[in-house]
Subunit: 436 residues, 2 copies
Amino acid sequence: MKPVKVGLLGLGTVGGGTVNVLKRNASEITRRAGRDIQICSASARDLTQPRICDTHGITLTTDPFAVVEDPNLDIIVELIGGVSPAKELVLKALENGKHVVTANKALIALHGNEIFAQAHKYGRMVAFEAAVAGGIPIIKTLREGLSGNRVEWLAGIINGTSNFILTEMRDKGRAFADVLKEAQALGYAEADPTFDVEGIDAGHKLTILASIAFGIPLQFPKVYTEGISGITPEDVSYAEQLGYRIKLLGIARRADKGIELRVHPTLIPAKRLIANVDGVMNAILVKGDAVGPILSYGAGAGAEPTASSVVADIVDVVRALTSDPENRVPHLAFQPDAISDIPVLPVDDIETSYYLRLSAEDKPGVLADVTRILASHRISIEALIQKEPAEGASSLPVILLTHKVAEREMNAAIREIEALATVTAPVKRIRMETLK
Amino acid sequence: MKPVKVGLLGLGTVGGGTVNVLKRNASEITRRAGRDIQICSASARDLTQPRICDTHGITLTTDPFAVVEDPNLDIIVELIGGVSPAKELVLKALENGKHVVTANKALIALHGNEIFAQAHKYGRMVAFEAAVAGGIPIIKTLREGLSGNRVEWLAGIINGTSNFILTEMRDKGRAFADVLKEAQALGYAEADPTFDVEGIDAGHKLTILASIAFGIPLQFPKVYTEGISGITPEDVSYAEQLGYRIKLLGIARRADKGIELRVHPTLIPAKRLIANVDGVMNAILVKGDAVGPILSYGAGAGAEPTASSVVADIVDVVRALTSDPENRVPHLAFQPDAISDIPVLPVDDIETSYYLRLSAEDKPGVLADVTRILASHRISIEALIQKEPAEGASSLPVILLTHKVAEREMNAAIREIEALATVTAPVKRIRMETLK
C-alpha cells in the first residue's frame, strides 16, 4: 500500500520526539501498520533553532496554515499546544479533509465538543491519546478496553509536576516552595507553575477522562480544582503517621444525583498501589462494574513517552482510513447522539471523609468544643490525635479524621470551629478517599 | 443499525459472566457500539445445571456445532476452554464466515498460528483479549497503544493462583503445600494445580504476549517454564530480608542473539510497583524504547473481569465488521507477512543474576571453596550472608546474590559446589531481575 503522508505542526519537545520515534522505529511501525508513515512537512516558529531531531527530508515552514492547506497530506499532527492558533488549525485541517492527531489537552478539554462536531461533519478522525497521561494508553483503555463496563469512578495522578513535588516533600520533609524551585530548575515545572500546581492541567485531563468514562460532554468549567500549594510538610508527615499518603488526584465519580468532577490533594491509604506512584510518573485507577479496579501506570510527559501515544494514534488513524465513519470508535467513546446530560454536582454536594488539622490553645475544653460542633453537623470522628505543642509554641496541633459528610456541612462546621476563641489559625482541611 | 447477533459456546463461569454483563450494561454498551448486541443462542454441556445468568431469550443447545452452523449469527464467542473441540469449533466458525471472540489461552498459544491463517483465508477476525490477564486490556495496550515502540522486554504476574500462594507464604510465613490446599478450597486453584503452579498457564499467556510484542510466531514449546512448588518459606523470608520479593514472572526479552521466553520464580526489588501486586491480582510491566516502563494492573480471572474483556472484543469486532480486512489490527500486532523468525534462546544462554541458598557444614574453608568455584566460572558475588545454624542443626544456610551470568555457567558452578563434601544439600537457585 502507498505511504501515509503526515504534516507536523510544532517541532519542539513532543514534535522532535515524534520525528525521532517515527524515524528510529520506522520498520517496526511499518511491520505493524502495513504501510509506511512519512512526515512530509512540518512547521516551527523559528527555523534557525537547534532541534532534538533530524529534519532531513521534511519540508519546513514557519507557517502552520501552509501545512494544513497542503493537499498531499492525509494526517495533521498538532503539537504546538495552547488554544490559539491550534484550534483554528485543527478546524481548518478537518475542513480540508485531513485527519488530526493532537497532544493538546487544553484544546480538547475546552473546545473538544466543537472540534468533534467539525470532525463529524467532515467524516474525519481526531485522535488525542497523548493529551492525557503522556505515554499511558488510558484513552484507549477506557474507550475500547473497558467498553463492556459501567464505569463507577476513576482517580488519577495525572500531573507529574505535582506528584514530583509531593514525593520530594514526603521523602525529604521539604517545603512546597523549596521543591517547586528545584522542579523548575529540573524542567519539571514551568516558570509560571500555576497550571500544574493549582490543578488546572489535571482538570483538563480529568475533563477528557470523565467524558469518555461516563459519556458526558466535555465541561471543564464544572470541574472543581484545588492545588497543592497549601500542603505543608506537617500535613504530609501527619498523613504518613496515620497510614496515608497525600496525592493530587483527579477524581470523577458517578454519585446518586450526578457526576463528581474534582481535582484536589487527597489522603489515600499508603498500601494502595497508586499511593506508591512516585516522582513524575502518572497512574490512573478506574473502577468498572465488571472488571473491578484497573490501574495504568507510566510516564505522563516527556518527548518520547508522549510521542509513543502520538505515533499509536497515527497508526490507529491509518488503520481506520478506509472504514465507515459511523463504525469508528466515537471520539468520546459514546456515540454523539448518545451523550448524556447527567448533571455535574457542585462541590458543596460532594461527600468525602476529611483530614482536619487544627491549631488550638493548650487549654481544657477545646476538644469538647470541637467535637460538639462536629456532632451538631452529624460529622462522626474516625480518629483524633492531639500532638504535643512545638517547643515554645503556645498552640498545639490537633488532627482529626472524619467519616463521610457533605462538603457543605463540613464547611459550616469549619466556620464554627474557626470562630472559637481557642482555635488560633484557619483549619487545614484535606479530603480523603479509600479508593475501594 | 440492526443488532449484531452473537452465539455463545459455553455457559460456565465466563459464559455466565458474559451474559450478565451484556444484559446489565446493554444500554451503556449500545451507546458506545452504536447498535445492539444480542446473544441469540448458546451451547452448554448440560442444560439442567443451575446457571449464574438468566438465559431467558437465548436458544439453548447441548451441541456447540449447531451454534457454529447457525446462519443467523455474526459472531461466535468460544468460552468452553481446552483445545478440543474448541479448535474445531473455531476453525468451522471462521469457515462459515463468522468472527470469533475467545478467552482460550491454551488454544491461542498452541494453535493460534493455524487459527489466524484460517481467519486470514476467510477475511474474518479472531479476538482474544480475555485469553491473557482476564480483565486487563493488555493485548490492546501492546498491540495498539504501544504500536510506535520497539518493545525491549515485558514481565508479568500472569497467574493469579501462584501469586495468591506466594503472597500468603510471604504474609504469613506459610508453606507452599499448606497454602495450595487453601487456594483449592477457595476455588483459586484446580484439583490438579499443575497448570497454575508449574508455570504452564503463565507460559501460554507469555507465548501470546511475546508474539504480539516482538512480531514472532506463537511458539509455546520454546518457553522455559519453572513453577513455584520448590519455593520454601525460608527463601521467601531471606529474599525479604535482602529487600526482594519472590514472584512467578513470565518474562520475554529481546537479547542480542535472540528472544528470551521464560516463566520462573524471580526475586525482584521490593520497591518496584509490580512487587506489590498481591493476591490473585495480575500485572504486566512492559518496557518500550519510546514510552519507557508501562504497568497494567487488574483482575486476571473471574467471571466478570474476564467477561469485561470478552465484551470489549465483541464491541471491537462490531466496529470493524465493515472494514477492509487488510486495514484491521493484525491478530499478532504485526502484519502476517512481517512476522520475524528471530530465534528463541535456549535457557542455557540466558543471562540473569541469581539468588543461591546453600546448606553447608559449619566448618572452616567452606566459603573459600564456594567462592573459588564461583570465581573460576567468572561469577561475581554481590552479597553473601551466612546465617546461624538452626537450633540443633549441623549445617548452616549461606545466601549468595550474584551478578549476571549465563545460565550454562551457573549450572556448571552449582554442580561443582554440590560435589563439595561440606555442602550437605542441593543448592537452591532462584533467578533475579531488576526490571529496570
